[in-house]
Subunit: 224 residues, 4 copies
DNA sequence: GATGAATGAGCGTTCATTCAT
DNA sequence: TATGAATGAACGCTCATTCAT
């Protein structure tokens, strides 16, 4: 028994996905522009050129729509960051490159996705709170692994096994905050750039300092 | 002829303030518990055991209520942090003590105020967006001054005059994020403590590392 | 390929119009009975046996509802008056017949429409004030044309080109006032009839007298 | 037993009246400026520099306030018109002079009072409806007496005894309407003047024509 | 599958009026 | 008398969601 679908079914499937995409894209634009709360389902339907009913046929409710977009954005962000870490030769370099990619690629090229990830309030219902929590966890897990590796290389042992997760969250905090400024403030490209570099430097510095054994000593790679 | 108010007027004044407080307290609790948006003015009135009209007698509208609470929280936070910085003998020590006070005092003893400051969405109308922006600016200005002093002492010059503000914002990002976890996650006291310490260490580390390194070349390019 | 709509669409359209009418009729009755201000949208919805939401689905807001009714009433009135003028052989006869039709037809058969046109305050928001102004202008333009013709036939030239408009407004004033009495007072049919005739006579008389007199010196100064 | 009050009582009385006046004046200005509905009792109290309670101490409710002002305006208007009629040598001249005084004196010098009399909707509650009715009746009674006299002098007998009242109302209709334009439209002084003259001419003409026995003949005083 | 009219609970806000002081 | 804080019913309006077609 093959798993392949009959021709018309395939077409159906394709159309289905296309409709879904259209709606999601419309929602993404609107949510990013006006925020989730100020966007009505009618607006999404209008923008997607379908009826409200259709939106509800494909998505259980407005929140689900946001959740889907949230997941997509998160997936994209992880891809981008993951790629940087894979390319990098050291965990530190990975963090630097990922940090730069966060601003230069994610926030710059996928502004709408970034806005959905970082601007929407934590409290649009329980489902979104959970989602947001999960996002945090996912990203901080990713990051904490790099930090653990970094710590191992430096022969440093953390206060507790959870410490690396905490540090990961700290880094996320920095990025969330800076992303918000990056996306929201009206800045000159120059200061945007500078801001991004300073932020990256800060996070890397934070980790380096901690994993350095002696006080104020340069870490392995950055030695005199 | 003195300017002091007559006895009954004074009493009136006192009662007035008391009613104000009652309403603010009710609002604070509800906003912290359910969020600003999910709290209706009727609920606030009920909780304060007054009528809706009374709420509107004392506060122009719902947003103003939030704004007032926001300002109060911010004022308290600044007091707490300022005190620590003043007591401290060095900027670094100030940052450490302030960091600890942030978690142990502000987030722990004034949980509701912390929630209002750190959980409410940036966009509950323009007034709140501005308020939030101003909060960020206020705090980052406070902090950036400490950072500037720290940089001077270390004989370090930043990439740009704005850098210390960026770093200040990074630190705020860390604290906002960690505050959120601190307030929201269901943690054992132990890990709460550890989390706070790690976070403080991270921020201080970030600054130290930066001010300790050579003059602002991007770190990745400074490798051997 | 015809442009005609498919069968179900046509039915939809029909139902749509029907709902609209139902709501408008309910509103007309209520506005005429209790006045616009004392009628709530909920009442309109109840009377039309639909939900509030439905009212707002068809009409932008309460004011729009009134405006629609207003326009309809005005249109009907103009049709009735226009018909009389067209049938009449002379402008004077036109004015007489139109005057009679105003009371016997418009006020009598379309009482509610008359009430909406003549009883609602000039100031239920800017939109209605404008509408009312426009009504006055429309009707006085209609009338002033008849007066101009009448003046020409009588070989009379007015004090100013605007005079005929002023006279038209005078006539409107008479009719508005008398309509109010006609609709509001509790009169015997006999006195209603007499009242109408007297009013018509008055307006026609006013115009006649003016166009018959010598050239526009103020009357008091024209004494011997 | 004398009716004179003791000294302090007199003062009390004086102060009472003064307070009343202050409140009424404040209300008059506000009602004339913004309309009755858009003026809140608080605003009146503020403008009169008293408390809301005081307003309610002197006036049963908001409507009563309007009613009082209404009565005052009506009284003033009657005084003005009555004076003209008394001064005039013939009823026709009286009507002319009264008409002019209506525009040049009442509407021009007592604009606020005129606005209260002629702009406020007929439907601000039952009491005001009655009041308005009474105003109409009072004025039309005044006027109808002049018309009766005029008819007698001309040896004319009306369709019915009520006819003169109807004519009086017609005249009122003209004046109400024109007053509204006079007070509301943005006119040059010149057209204001012309408008007023045309309106007066119209009303006088209307009556003259009716009371003239033969068609188009000049009436006694206005003969060639 | 798709439509879009219908729903109705819920919201923020106003303001005439009352009444304890 | 005078105050002004307190009341609470009422209003216009929104919008996520449903469901007959």
């Amino acid at each position: 028994m093959t798993e392949e679908l009959s021709r018309p079914k395939l077409r159906r499937e394709r159309e289905r996905e296309h409709r879904c995409r259209t709606i999601l894209d419309a929602a993404e634009t609107l949510f990013a522009d006006q925020g989730f709360l100020k966007t009505s389902v009618d607006q999404v339907a209008d923008a997607a050129e379908v009826s409200v009913g259709t939106v509800y046929f494909y998505f259980k409710n407005k929140e689900t729509l946001l959740a889907k977009l949230f997941d997509e954005s998160l997936f994209l962000l992880r891809s981008i960051l993951g790629q940087e870490f894979e390319t990098a030769r050291t965990p530190v370099q990975g963090m630097e490159m990922a940090g730069k990619a966060f601003f230069d690629k994610f926030c710059t090229q996928y502004t709408r996705k970034a806005l959905i990830l970082f601007r929407e309030a934590p409290s649009h219902g329980k489902k979104m709170a959970d989602r947001r929590k999960k996002m945090s966890e996912t990203l901080s897990t990713d990051l904490s692994q790099a930090i653990d590796r970094l710590g191992e290389e430096a022969g440093y042992s953390f206060r507790s096994p959870a410490s690396s997760v905490v540090f990961a969250n700290c880094i996320l905090g920095v990025y969330e905050k800076m992303a918000f400024h990056f996306l929201t403030d009206d800045l000159r490209p120059g200061s945007r750039k500078a801001m991004a570099m300073d932020a990256v430097e800060f996070t890397v510095g934070g980790i380096r300092q901690i994993t350095a054994s002696g006080p104020h000593q340069a870490v392995s790679e950055a030695g005199p």
